[in-house]
Symmetry: C2
Subunit: 151 residues, 2 copies
């Protein structure tokens, strides 16, 4: 393993975890933890979706999603609704209370991203965005087509 490869993966983990810490600290007064704001954000982007779709979309395990949904429900940030055509399709939605605090969630994320890239030049920003895009595409391909078909 070259040091470079090891380093890129570690920086990504560190940035991800520090980012979650930063955003959830800003949302602490609203009883929204780091496992929860990710769900609020997904529901905000996708609209009302089924719990299983959330598992697939977020790549977080079923048990953790269920626990966070219960917590968000208790705090009245989300509500469940039964689809009349398919009673098993228990969808979750943001409540008005959640919609009211979404600007704060989005602002916290925006601030975080602005701060961490503030030390980069325009060229560096462009370059890292291109590279991360290529890497994410590769990650998606592995997941979708299998490792043996894309290597």
């Amino acid at each position: 393993m070259t040091n470079q490869e090891q380093t890129i993966g570690r920086w990504i983990s560190i940035l991800y975890r520090y980012g979650q810490l930063y955003v959830s600290k800003k949302l602490e007064p609203y009883n929204i933890g780091r496992a929860q704001y990710v769900i609020l954000l997904a529901l905000y982007r996708k609209g009302g979706i089924k719990q299983e779709e959330l598992v697939d979309y977020l790549k977080i395990d079923k048990g953790s999603i269920a626990k966070s949904i219960r917590k968000l429900e208790k705090e009245s940030y989300i509500q469940r609704s039964i689809d009349l055509d398919d009673k098993r399709a228990n969808k979750v939605f943001l409540t008005q209370k959640a919609l009211d605090i979404m600007p704060l969630v989005l602002d916290a994320i925006k601030n975080w991203e602005e701060i961490i890239i503030s030390g980069l030049s325009e060229g560096e920003k462009q370059s890292i965005e291109n590279s991360l895009h290529k890497m994410a595409k590769k990650a998606y391909d592995i997941k979708t087509y299998g490792e043996e078909n894309i290597k």
Copy 2:
């Protein structure tokens, strides 16, 4: 919010989550989930440490760490040991069983990192490594010195 900033943060989240998914899939036969291999890796790098230090090092909440530690203990991957000088200092260590599978864990991580950067040129690899380093440094500074002191 410019589209670029939004994108960099999202790619980082996607890469992190897909990476965890990839590695934990490889470790499924050993009953090691994604929340657990991160702990094994930390203990491998840091040696025996206290549960609270693990919380601080990994930036993962106390409850989740405790749950994963119980699971790892049940599978005999880690053991607790009492420090004779400070009986409250309950440290956790890797067992021989864990040490035996560490090469697999490290290999899975190495493979993942090799695959995702395989589409980048040497120049792009160098550039992204530098940029991620700068960003992680900024993230660390925010956490350590407070946002108002580094902006």
